[in-house]
Protein backbone atom coordinates (compact mmCIF):
# COMPACT_ATOMS: atom_id res chain seq x y z
CA UNK A 1 0.00 0.00 0.00
CA UNK A 2 1.17 3.49 -0.69
CA UNK A 3 0.09 7.02 0.06
CA UNK A 4 -1.23 9.54 -2.46
CA UNK A 5 -1.57 13.27 -2.40
CA UNK A 6 -5.18 14.28 -1.76
CA UNK A 7 -6.00 11.08 0.11
CA UNK A 8 -6.32 10.43 3.84
CA UNK A 9 -3.01 9.70 5.53
CA UNK A 10 -2.90 6.17 7.03
CA UNK A 11 -3.72 6.31 10.74
CA UNK A 12 -1.18 5.11 13.28
CA UNK A 13 -0.48 4.78 16.98
CA UNK A 14 3.15 4.05 17.81
CA UNK A 15 5.42 4.06 20.83
CA UNK A 16 8.23 6.56 20.78
CA UNK A 17 10.17 9.13 22.73
CA UNK A 18 8.54 12.49 23.43
CA UNK A 19 10.60 15.07 25.34
CA UNK A 20 12.72 12.33 26.86
CA UNK A 21 9.90 10.01 27.93
CA UNK A 22 8.46 6.89 26.36
CA UNK A 23 5.01 7.73 25.07
CA UNK A 24 2.45 6.59 22.56
CA UNK A 25 1.69 8.99 19.70
CA UNK A 26 -1.21 8.80 17.25
CA UNK A 27 -1.86 10.63 13.99
CA UNK A 28 -5.19 11.79 15.38
CA UNK A 29 -3.33 13.70 18.14
CA UNK A 30 -2.48 16.16 15.34
CA UNK A 31 -5.95 16.73 13.92
CA UNK A 32 -6.45 20.49 13.53
CA UNK A 33 -2.72 21.01 12.93
CA UNK A 34 -0.36 20.53 10.05
CA UNK A 35 2.05 17.67 10.49
CA UNK A 36 5.39 17.05 8.83
CA UNK A 37 5.77 13.29 9.20
CA UNK A 38 9.22 12.19 8.12
CA UNK A 39 10.89 8.81 7.84
CA UNK A 40 14.63 8.26 8.13
CA UNK A 41 16.72 5.08 7.83
CA UNK A 42 18.46 4.65 11.15
CA UNK A 43 19.29 6.37 14.42
CA UNK A 44 22.87 7.63 14.62
CA UNK A 45 22.88 8.54 10.91
CA UNK A 46 21.95 11.93 9.42
CA UNK A 47 18.31 12.80 8.83
Amino acid sequence: MSVRVGEKAPEFTLDGVVKGDFKSVALKDYRGKWLGLFFYPLDFTFV
Binding site: M1, S2, V3, R4, V5, G6, E7, K8, A9, P10, F12, L14, D15, G16, V17, V18, K19, G20, F22, K23, V25, L27, K28, Y30, R31, G32, K33, W34, L35, G36, L37, F38, F39, Y40, P41, L42, D43, F44, F46, V47
Partner: protein, 136 residues
Protein backbone atom coordinates in the same frame (compact mmCIF):
# COMPACT_ATOMS: atom_id res chain seq x y z
CA UNK B 1 10.95 24.15 16.45
CA UNK B 2 9.46 27.67 16.59
CA UNK B 3 9.28 27.90 12.77
CA UNK B 4 6.79 25.04 12.79
CA UNK B 5 4.87 26.15 15.87
CA UNK B 6 4.34 29.60 14.31
CA UNK B 7 2.69 27.83 11.39
CA UNK B 8 0.26 25.76 13.52
CA UNK B 9 2.28 22.69 12.65
CA UNK B 10 4.36 19.97 14.23
CA UNK B 11 7.11 17.58 13.19
CA UNK B 12 7.32 13.87 13.96
CA UNK B 13 10.15 11.54 12.96
CA UNK B 14 9.87 7.79 12.38
CA UNK B 15 12.39 5.01 11.83
CA UNK B 16 12.32 1.26 12.21
CA UNK B 17 14.63 1.44 15.25
CA UNK B 18 13.32 0.62 18.73
CA UNK B 19 12.24 3.31 21.18
CA UNK B 20 15.29 2.40 23.27
CA UNK B 21 17.59 3.21 20.37
CA UNK B 22 15.73 6.52 19.89
CA UNK B 23 16.24 7.35 23.55
CA UNK B 24 19.97 6.60 23.37
CA UNK B 25 20.31 8.75 20.24
CA UNK B 26 18.41 11.60 21.89
CA UNK B 27 20.76 11.45 24.87
CA UNK B 28 23.92 11.51 22.73
CA UNK B 29 25.57 14.92 22.23
CA UNK B 30 25.52 16.34 18.68
CA UNK B 31 29.30 16.36 18.45
CA UNK B 32 29.21 12.60 19.00
CA UNK B 33 26.66 12.04 16.23
CA UNK B 34 23.64 12.31 18.51
CA UNK B 35 20.64 14.65 18.52
CA UNK B 36 20.60 15.77 22.14
CA UNK B 37 18.14 18.65 22.61
CA UNK B 38 15.90 17.53 19.73
CA UNK B 39 12.38 18.67 20.63
CA UNK B 40 10.07 16.68 18.40
CA UNK B 41 8.83 13.12 18.94
CA UNK B 42 10.63 10.15 17.43
CA UNK B 43 8.45 7.09 16.87
CA UNK B 44 9.56 3.47 16.74
CA UNK B 45 8.13 1.62 13.74
CA UNK B 46 9.65 -1.57 15.05
CA UNK B 47 7.18 -3.79 13.15
CA UNK B 48 7.86 -1.75 9.93
CA UNK B 49 4.13 -1.58 9.29
CA UNK B 50 3.92 2.20 9.17
CA UNK B 51 6.87 2.46 6.76
CA UNK B 52 5.16 -0.09 4.53
CA UNK B 53 1.79 1.74 4.80
CA UNK B 54 3.47 4.96 3.63
CA UNK B 55 5.37 3.19 0.86
CA UNK B 56 8.86 4.03 2.13
CA UNK B 57 10.00 0.64 3.41
CA UNK B 58 13.06 -0.74 1.65
CA UNK B 59 12.22 -4.40 2.01
CA UNK B 60 15.68 -5.87 1.42
CA UNK B 61 17.22 -3.91 4.28
CA UNK B 62 14.15 -3.40 6.50
CA UNK B 63 14.80 0.32 6.80
CA UNK B 64 12.79 3.31 5.64
CA UNK B 65 14.02 5.68 2.92
CA UNK B 66 13.86 9.42 3.57
CA UNK B 67 10.18 10.19 3.07
CA UNK B 68 8.40 13.36 4.07
CA UNK B 69 4.61 13.61 4.20
CA UNK B 70 2.90 16.92 4.80
CA UNK B 71 -0.49 16.13 6.36
CA UNK B 72 -3.11 18.86 6.64
CA UNK B 73 -5.39 19.61 9.63
CA UNK B 74 -8.08 17.29 8.17
CA UNK B 75 -5.65 14.39 7.99
CA UNK B 76 -5.21 14.52 4.20
CA UNK B 77 -1.78 14.24 2.57
CA UNK B 78 -0.94 17.52 0.80
CA UNK B 79 2.67 16.89 -0.24
CA UNK B 80 5.11 14.00 -0.50
CA UNK B 81 8.86 13.97 -0.96
CA UNK B 82 10.84 10.75 -0.97
CA UNK B 83 14.64 10.76 -1.23
CA UNK B 84 16.80 7.72 -1.65
CA UNK B 85 19.12 6.99 1.24
CA UNK B 86 22.16 9.20 0.58
CA UNK B 87 20.46 12.59 0.44
CA UNK B 88 18.96 14.55 3.32
CA UNK B 89 16.02 16.92 3.21
CA UNK B 90 15.69 20.68 3.35
CA UNK B 91 13.70 22.18 6.23
CA UNK B 92 13.30 25.48 4.35
CA UNK B 93 11.45 23.67 1.58
CA UNK B 94 9.05 22.12 4.09
CA UNK B 95 8.36 25.56 5.56
CA UNK B 96 7.85 26.99 2.06
CA UNK B 97 5.29 24.27 1.30
CA UNK B 98 3.49 24.94 4.59
CA UNK B 99 3.37 28.68 3.78
CA UNK B 100 2.05 27.94 0.30
CA UNK B 101 -0.69 25.53 1.39
CA UNK B 102 -1.73 27.89 4.17
CA UNK B 103 -1.81 30.84 1.76
CA UNK B 104 -4.02 28.78 -0.54
CA UNK B 105 -6.30 27.73 2.30
CA UNK B 106 -6.64 31.27 3.65
CA UNK B 107 -6.93 33.29 0.45
CA UNK B 108 -7.96 30.79 -2.23
CA UNK B 109 -4.90 31.66 -4.32
CA UNK B 110 -2.61 29.23 -6.12
CA UNK B 111 1.17 29.38 -5.77
CA UNK B 112 3.26 29.08 -8.95
CA UNK B 113 6.79 27.75 -9.37
CA UNK B 114 9.26 29.26 -6.94
CA UNK B 115 6.57 30.95 -4.86
CA UNK B 116 7.67 31.93 -1.36
CA UNK B 117 6.03 33.97 1.40
CA UNK B 118 5.92 37.65 0.38
CA UNK B 119 5.62 36.94 -3.35
CA UNK B 120 2.36 37.51 -5.18
CA UNK B 121 0.30 34.36 -5.66
CA UNK B 122 -2.27 33.88 -8.43
CA UNK B 123 -5.97 34.57 -7.92
CA UNK B 124 -7.50 31.97 -10.26
CA UNK B 125 -10.13 34.41 -11.59
CA UNK B 126 -7.44 36.99 -12.35
CA UNK B 127 -4.71 34.71 -13.68
CA UNK B 128 -4.36 36.69 -16.93
CA UNK B 129 -3.42 39.84 -14.98
CA UNK B 130 -0.80 37.88 -12.99
CA UNK B 131 0.85 36.61 -16.17
CA UNK B 132 0.76 40.09 -17.70
CA UNK B 133 2.63 41.43 -14.68
CA UNK B 134 5.10 38.60 -13.90
CA UNK B 135 5.82 36.63 -17.08
CA UNK B 136 9.19 37.38 -18.69
Amino acid sequence: MPEFEQRNSAVVGVSTDSKFSHKAWLQTPRKKGGIEGCKYPLLADFTKKLSADYGVLQEASGIAVRGLFLINPEGVVDAIQVNNLPIGRNVDEVLRLLDAFQEHQKNGVVCPIGWAKGKEAIKPAEAAAWFEKHAK
